[in-house]
Symmetry: C2
Subunit: 272 residues, 2 copies
């Protein structure tokens, strides 16, 4: 397999990767992102994703990383690039990586028919990349395999979000730029919101809240669920927390809500 060495920061391909690494807008505009590390590269290799390029740290890549890079490039028909550490580090979201990364072409935006009848998580203005990635990972783990994001939310395909989600993107249908109005117009299930400001106590809700397809809305760090999203919500729940704490982190709140729904559906209550 041919390996191409890129030595100059002026290389056009490298400059494009650097934009993908650092700019959310570039990820959107180019329709591509970067995945770093053994685990993400393995998941990408085994997925349907298009991988046009695999990138190795020419000096520091481990033997495992090199073998995985060659195998991934072979299986995906990708080109293999070697970068000196100084260039590789400019692309990597972590300080001491294993030295393998790949460029992935983003999948096409899914038709709304792919999510109109399914359980989903709607990220209403969530801003933090780490939170967004954890939310995707938690949702997929809870069996909620559709993630929608409002136009105000962080881009879900940036390297940081990909990294925090640990490959969960590949098990999910992801649609961005979906307004609350579109959700209301298209969605045929029940819309629930987690809202620290009020509503019903999640733990006192009747089990029926988990019946049929459910869309869970989680709001932005700080402001919470927006007025536009609340306007299309059928039922609003709060998690009963101690007074000593103002609120939960949005990813923790989602873990509580999504797994409470999963518990109800798995029949955990009856068995007690």
């Amino acid at each position: 397999m041919t390996e191409m060495l890129i030595e100059s920061e002026a290389n056009a391909r490298f400059k494009r990767w650097r934009r993908l690494a650092g700019e959310s807008r570039a990820v959107k505009k180019e329709g591509a992102t970067l995945l770093e590390g053994i685990h993400l590269t393995q998941v990408a290799r085994d997925s349907e994703a298009a991988i046009p390029a695999v990138i190795l740290d020419a000096e520091r890549a481990t033997a495992e990383a090199r073998a995985l890079a060659r195998e991934t490039a072979g299986r995906k028909g990708a080109r293999l690039f070697l970068l000196p550490p100084a260039l590789y580090d400019q692309l990597s979201p972590v300080e001491h990586g294993v030295g393998v990364m790949c460029e992935m072409t983003l999948p096409k935006a899914p038709s709304s028919e792919l999510w109109a009848d399914r359980d989903l998580l709607y990220l209403d203005g969530v801003q933090d990349a780490g939170n967004a990635g954890t939310l995707i990972r938690t949702a997929v783990a809870a069996g909620v395999r559709v993630i929608l994001a409002s136009p105000t939310a962080v881009n879900l395909w940036t390297p940081k979000v990909m990294r925090a989600a640990m490959g969960a993107h590949f098990g999910a249908v992801i649609a961005e730029g979906v307004t609350a109005d579109t959700l209301a117009r298209v969605y045929r299930g029940t819309v629930l919101a987690a809202d620290a400001r009020g509503g019903e106590d999640l733990f006192l809700a009747s089990d029926s809240y988990a019946e049929g397809a459910v869309a869970w809305i989680m709001g932005a760090e700080g402001p919470g669920v927006s007025a536009a999203a609340l306007a299309v919500t059928h039922r609003r729940f709060y998690i009963p927390i101690e007074a000593a704490c103002e609120s939960l982190n949005v990813a923790a709140a989602a873990a509580v809500c999504l797994f409470d729904m999963r518990r109800c559906r798995l029949g955990g209550t009856e068995s007690r």
Copy 2:
């Protein structure tokens, strides 16, 4: 109130703050940490914590930040320092802060009698500062007001952890460097562990798991609960996740376990 301007990076006090901002070891050695932002400063102001210094960005601090700084300094008998933006930025854990920070003296390590009979969360080697902070915040929100950390875990008092916990430190008893053996020897409640590798299904467990004082062990990102901690565990639980996902983030897993316990204790099951 006297305000002192520090203009030089060579200033001994500034150099000490810079170590507190960047080095976990310095936080431990000096017995002090930095808190950034309106919310943390407010919580610190209203707490029992010793605050020897309040720090303002001389140029960019908002009017709200300035007023809060003066009030906090007055109430705590703290000195008020002004830093030019170039120096302030070297201390701040965030890029666009509001320009107020304070130095806090760490509380004394609590005697084990303060936690031997209480619900607690034991962080067994958790490495990531953001995760550790979210874990503390989630535990306090769930009514678990004692946090222990193994000698292998991240320092719980660094500025990054303080920031992610959003003030939950002030509602908790925190003890670091507690070995699994010490936990086993001192603790009089039941020791539970969340372990993705096996044990009982959390959602099929009898409610009695939540009776009496409970210590929940959460393991490190990646390796999970250590052999030493498993050896002192009375019951081990896994969260039933979808096969499409390998595991949950440790902070998400803790949210599920701690709030499932809270639900049982609040009697949510009976009311269904």
